[in-house]
């Protein structure tokens, strides 16, 4: 698969870009924060994305989606990242859509996928329990009871967890806390969960989720009992690639603001963009962002070609792009100087969001460690 976009994909990217610029510029995220919206996104915006067919980009056509693949989905995430557009797109349209279309029973698909495509159902993935991402660390219990299960435990850092209608929960049906075996995925109606809102620095929607003896019947199981970790990794990889794409967009957004500033801001009687030290740092950053775009596309292409085999490409993208977006936002603030530190100015929003996106589903250190192991050292 060549690392180039076909016409269809380019059109999709333009649609997403246009939508982000018109309907969801950074000022919308500021409004979200100032209005202290608990959901972490504007419902009406999400509906509009669904109308445009963006929400169902990964949903198969027979279930009312566009069946566009991860490349298409990633391009949308990238454009949303450019303007920091807030939506449950990654959790719902990338992770949950992947989970259901790959693991779901016919009934589960028929019930949920159309709602995802229609933007009628918000999904959240409840897997992490500790401060740092560790997929196999699952202590939430799922005990058999009757023909179903009873779930008890707590989840932390659940993206879109507060607004979620449906949860995909990783729970332990066997084995000890850190064992790879014995993890099972469940579809849980979010109304059965206690949601404790997390007010994160990026003003997006996160929650801690508590399940206190929640009863679900057998067909709530997603995929195979005790064999959920591999499936979870595939779902996580979709989310990681989505976040990587979003961070590429945010890097580009912050870099664009910085370049504008370098060209118009005058000091010592000239544009500061004329100072070679800043020019070289900007040129270096440009190069790093080019690398980011390439590894992002590779990860998305691999996810479409062979989801189980994409782990390394995805970790490469998540780690490298987390580093580059950190550099991009740090340089953005530094090159803006004092004004970049003010809340009034937008650049700080990029810094806060890439910090959260970098942490979610494994930070740079986690994915570098994973990469080293995958490379055999």
């Amino acid at each position: 698969m060549p690392l180039v976009l076909n016409d269809e994909q380019q059109m999709l990217q333009e649609t997403a870009a246009g939508f982000a610029d018109e309907k969801s510029p950074i000022s919308e995220l500021r409004r979200l924060r100032d209005e202290d919206v608990a959901d972490g996104f504007h419902r009406d915006l999400w509906s509009q994305m669904a109308e445009l067919g963006l929400a169902g980009v990964l949903v198969p056509e027979e279930h009312g989606g566009a069946g566009f693949g991860h490349v298409g989905a990633g391009l949308i995430a990238q454009e949303m990242g450019r303007t920091l557009a807030a939506s449950p797109f990654i959790a719902t349209s990338m992770m949950a859509a992947t989970a259901l279309s790959r693991l779901g029973s016919d009934d589960q698909k028929a019930e949920h996928l159309p709602k995802i495509a229609a933007g009628e159902s918000v999904f959240a993935i409840a897997s992490d329990e500790a401060r740092k991402h560790t997929p196999n660390h699952v202590s939430m219990k799922a005990e058999r009871s009757g023909n179903g299960f009873k779930l008890s435990g707590e989840k932390a850092f659940v993206a879109e967890g507060y607004a979620a209608d449906q949860l995909i929960v990783a729970a332990r049906t066997a084995g000890a806390d850190d064992e790879k075996e014995g993890i099972t995925l469940f579809l849980v109606d979010a109304s059965k969960a206690e949601k404790d809102r997390m007010k994160t620095i990026d003003s997006r929607g996160f929650a801690r989720i508590k399940l206190d003896g929640v009863e679900v019947d057998g067909d709530a199981v997603l995929g195979q009992v005790d064999q959920g970790l591999a499936a979870l990794e595939t779902i996580l990889d979709a989310g990681r690639a989505g976040l990587a794409a979003e961070m590429v967009g945010s890097s580009e957004g912050a870099f664009a603001m910085t370049l504008d500033y370098l060209k118009q801001r005058k000091q010592f009687g000239t544009e500061i963009g004329r100072f070679q030290a800043l020019q070289h740092r900007a040129a270096h950053l440009y190069t790093e962002i080019e690398l980011s775009k390439a590894v992002m596309l590779q990860a998305l292409v691999e996810l479409d070609a062979n989801p189980e085999g994409a782990a390394a490409s995805v970790s490469l993208a998540k780690a490298k792009i987390a580093q580059v977006s950190r550099l991009a936002t740090n340089e953005a603030v530094q090159m803006h100087g004092g004004i970049g530190m003010t809340d009034e100015y937008d650049v700080g929003f990029f810094m806060k969001r890439v910090r959260v996106a970098g942490e979610l589903y494994g930070d740079q250190d986690y994915h570098m460690g994973k990469l080293a192991e995958l490379m055999g050292y």
Partner: protein
């Protein structure tokens, strides 16, 4: 027993007797006493402690006695601070007058100015703020535009300052004004002292990305500053000399601050918060390696700070080297807080909650981004090193 040993034992005894128990322990920003006309003491001991120390001139130990200081020698002052550390005594009060205006007045001020301004600073009666930067100026500080016109018996001041810390709570401001436009920009700048109660002075807080900020914008609209021979420090039009003298001071202070901040090894914090593996190592080997590099550089920086201190105590004067300290210390501090956030993981990404002390770590992390901007950006420090120390052409 030498005089110094005697001084130590006396000091120790006095502190034991006079430092109230509530004025000892872990010091933090919220425990600070800033003084000034509008200050409300957190408790009676805070006032008692300030008065007792002020009576001995120990709020400004090395200043001359006649100006409210303690008249202590360097060695004695060192002993005093050691003894205060020993019992974890709080600083009696903090005031930009002590750290910034004071040194300028001592060097450039007239006898009258010293008489009039230093004592109240020493006693914490007047709170000062600093008015240097302006919206347009940024790194190019000498390009300030706030105008002070000579109207015979007074100056007419118009303009705007930014990044004036705690201006909304300050009684007086020391600031740079332009009294002459005709010459090159470094000339025609005057270092002026202005009472914030003057008509036409107003302030507006600046909110930072950290959600917290001591900073304000300060506006001067047709402010009349009476000429009483005290309102100008140094010669009229030669305020740049005073300002640069203070900036060097500020750089040392700031790098000092971050030197201090680096005293705890990031790796140890990680081990404590994240736990260790069977070899006693931080589990995440990549994080561990980055933490080790940060601690390697952090310890090296502390060592350089120590060497600089020792050299200056041995009589070597610190010039442009302070730029190297400011540059490295602030960049290092930024790196350390990136790691602190990595260590905290999702637990430290929240704020406006009581779960994690209102997200203090996240706010501190965001706040550190300004370290390499305030008090002269890293780029400015590197320019200074390149020109003044390395003598590269420009």
């Amino acid at each position: 027993m030498t005089d110094l040993e005697q001084f130590r034992s006396e000091t120790r005894a006095w502190l034991e007797e006079n430092c109230p128990p509530t004025m000892r322990g872990e010091y933090s920003a919220d425990k600070a006493c800033w003084g000034g006309k509008r200050w409300e003491f957190k408790n009676p001991e805070q006032k008692l402690w300030l008065d007792r120390m002020a009576d001995r001139g120990w709020t400004v130990p090395t200043w001359p006695k006649e100006y409210g200081g303690g008249g202590l020698s360097k060695d004695e002052a060192e002993i005093l601070s050691e003894e205060m550390k020993r019992i974890k005594a709080f600083p009696p009060h903090e005031n930009f007058g002590i750290s910034m205006l004071g040194p300028a007045l001592l060097k450039f001020g007239t006898h009258e100015q010293k008489e009039r301004f230093l004592k109240p600073i020493a006693r914490g009666e007047i709170r000062w703020c600093q008015g240097y930067s302006e919206p347009g100026s940024g790194s190019d500080l000498a390009s300030i535009k706030t105008k002070a016109e000579d109207k015979g018996d007074h100056w007419l001041v118009n303009g705007q300052k930014v990044w004036t810390s705690y201006a909304d709570q300050a009684d007086w401001i020391f600031c740079l004004t332009r009294t002459d436009n005709s010459g090159p920009k470094h000339q025609g700048i005057t270092f002026m002292l202005i009472n914030m109660e003057n008509e036409g002075v107003s302030t507006k807080p600046i909110k930072l990305i950290s959600g917290r900020s001591p900073f304000c914008e300060t506006f001067f609209d047709d402010v009349k500053v009476k000429k009483d021979d005290d309102e100008v420090v140094g010669k009229i039009g030669e305020g740049w000399r005073v300002a640069t003298y203070l900036l060097t001071h500020e750089r040392e202070m700031i790098s000092g601050m971050f030197g201090g901040a680096a005293t705890r090894f990031v790796g140890q914090i990680a081990a404590q918060e994240m736990g260790t593996d069977e070899k006693g190592r931080i589990e995440d080997p990549m994080l561990r390696a980055r933490a080790t590099q940060a601690d390697l550089d952090g310890w090296a920086f502390l060592t350089l700070m120590r060497a600089v201190k020792d050299r200056s105590e041995a009589g070597e004067s610190l010039g442009a080297e302070s730029s190297a300290l400011k540059y490295y210390g602030t960049e290092l501090n930024k790196r350390r807080y990136e790691l602190m956030m990595d260590i905290g993981g999702s637990d430290e990404l929240e704020w406006e909650t009581d779960r994690n002390d209102d997200g203090d770590r996240a706010r501190s992390w965001l706040r550190t981004r300004a370290n390499s901007i305030e008090g002269g950006t890293s780029e400015i420090q590197l320019n200074i090193i390149s020109k003044r120390i390395l003598e590269l052409p420009s």
